[in-house]
Amino acid sequence: MLSKIGFLASAEVGASPVIPKPAEIIVGFVAFGILFLLIRARAVPRFEKAYKDRTEAIEGGLERAEIAQREAAAALQMYKAQLADARGEAAKLREEARAEGSVILEQMRTTAQEEAMRITASARASIDAERQAAFNSLLNEVGALATELASRIVGESLDDAARQSRVVERFLADVEKSQ
């Protein structure tokens, strides 16, 4: 047995192996105590740290992904809201423009009608005035013509009716020619 080469077994025989040697109890106690303190101070906290770091590295990644997802969802929500706002704004503007346009159209129509009526009225007035003028000048001319006609009739012999009508017709043809 190799253990017996370096370490000779005691010659003392008869000490029962179940009777503990007090020195060995103390050695076992102290040795384990030293190991315990060492392990508690230097090994367990480091192992726990590695364990915790690893857990955090895994869960942290998941959590970061979740946060990113939430942010993306929030951004999407925001953009949608902005888009809806913009659409509402555009619709409102269109509505306003339409209302404004119809107002303008109404105004223009009114203005145009007024203008038309004004033009119509002035045209009518000038027509009236011209007709009045024409009537007046006609009155004068008819008077002069009548006077001249009468003088010619009087100058000719008014003996028969045929002659008279010839005179009148000639007179009218002259008038037409002179006009």
Partner: protein, 260 residues
């Protein structure tokens, strides 16, 4: 001629408990005997191995860290978390030290040149058992108070009164004597018997070598059996370290439980 072939050397001395007694290597203090030196060697080996493997505490472990961490995680989760429950973390350093201390000292039994399981000297298991013993009593007294703890042991709730006549002495004996006694005895006896078994086959083989030719040949079987048994012993050594730690964890769990 025939006598020469199977002649048995008459001087065979079977291994006995005397083979477990060692003289000091130098001086005459018991502190310099092989078992005591082995115990301190175990502290150095186990302490440095797990300190070194834990040193970097990297998220992606090296092989060394992985080796140390695997054993640590096993004790932490299987014996700490699963047995003790939510308060397990403060007992993990103790349970872990317990396991690696006993395991290292046991495995010395089959390490070439060392070849002596230190726990086969009953003094060492007793020294360790003191820790378990004090721990589980202390935990219970701190949690429930001395009065309630003693009362719970002596008068287990929910039992018909006459039964206490038998149960109370048994329970007292269990908590105060049987538990520490069996803890240290189990470990000691297993290591003692295992070492004795290896001695029988190794010394037997050695003896056969000094005998006649046929017996010399037979020593081969004796030695191979010793080698086979060494692996068997490795299993027992690990198992005993595990059982000692498991029972300690169970006693602590019992001390923390609301009712015994």
């Amino acid at each position: 001629m025939r006598g020469l072939w199977i002649q048995a050397n008459p001087g065979f001395v079977p291994p006995s408990s005397a083979d477990f007694d060692f003289q000091p290597i130098f001086g005459d203090s018991i502190l310099f005997t092989k078992p005591v030196l082995l115990v301190f060697l175990s502290v150095i080996l186990a302490g440095s191995f797990f300190t070194l493997s834990a040193r970097k505490a990297a998220i992606v472990p090296s092989k060394l860290q992985f080796a140390g961490e695997s054993i640590y995680t096993f004790i932490r989760n299987e014996l700490g978390r699963d047995v003790i429950g939510p308060e397990f973390m403060r007992f993990v350093p103790f349970l872990f030290s317990l396991f690696i201390f006993i395991l290292t000292n046991n495995v010395f039994g089959i390490v070439p040149l060392l070849q002596f399981p230190t726990m086969s000297h009953i003094g060492f298991p007793i020294g360790v058992t003191i820790f378990s013993y004090v721990t589980y009593h202390y935990v219970a007294i701190k949690k429930h108070g001395l009065g309630k703890y003693v009362k719970d042991i002596c008068f287990m709730p929910g039992i018909p009164k006459p039964v206490y006549l038998i149960l109370t002495p048994v329970e007292l004996l269990t908590y105060l004597v049987t538990r520490p006694l069996t803890l240290s005895m189990r470990l000691f006896a297993n290591m003692f018997a295992g070492h004795l078994l290896l001695l029988v086959f190794t010394l037997g083989g050695e003896y056969l070598l000094t005998s006649g030719l046929i017996l010399k040949f037979l020593s081969l079987f004796s030695f191979s059996f010793a080698i086979g048994l060494s692996f068997f012993e490795l299993g027992i050594q690990a198992l005993q370290a595990y059982i000692f730690t498991l029972l300690t964890a169970l006693y602590i769990a019992g001390a923390l439980a609301d009712e015994h």
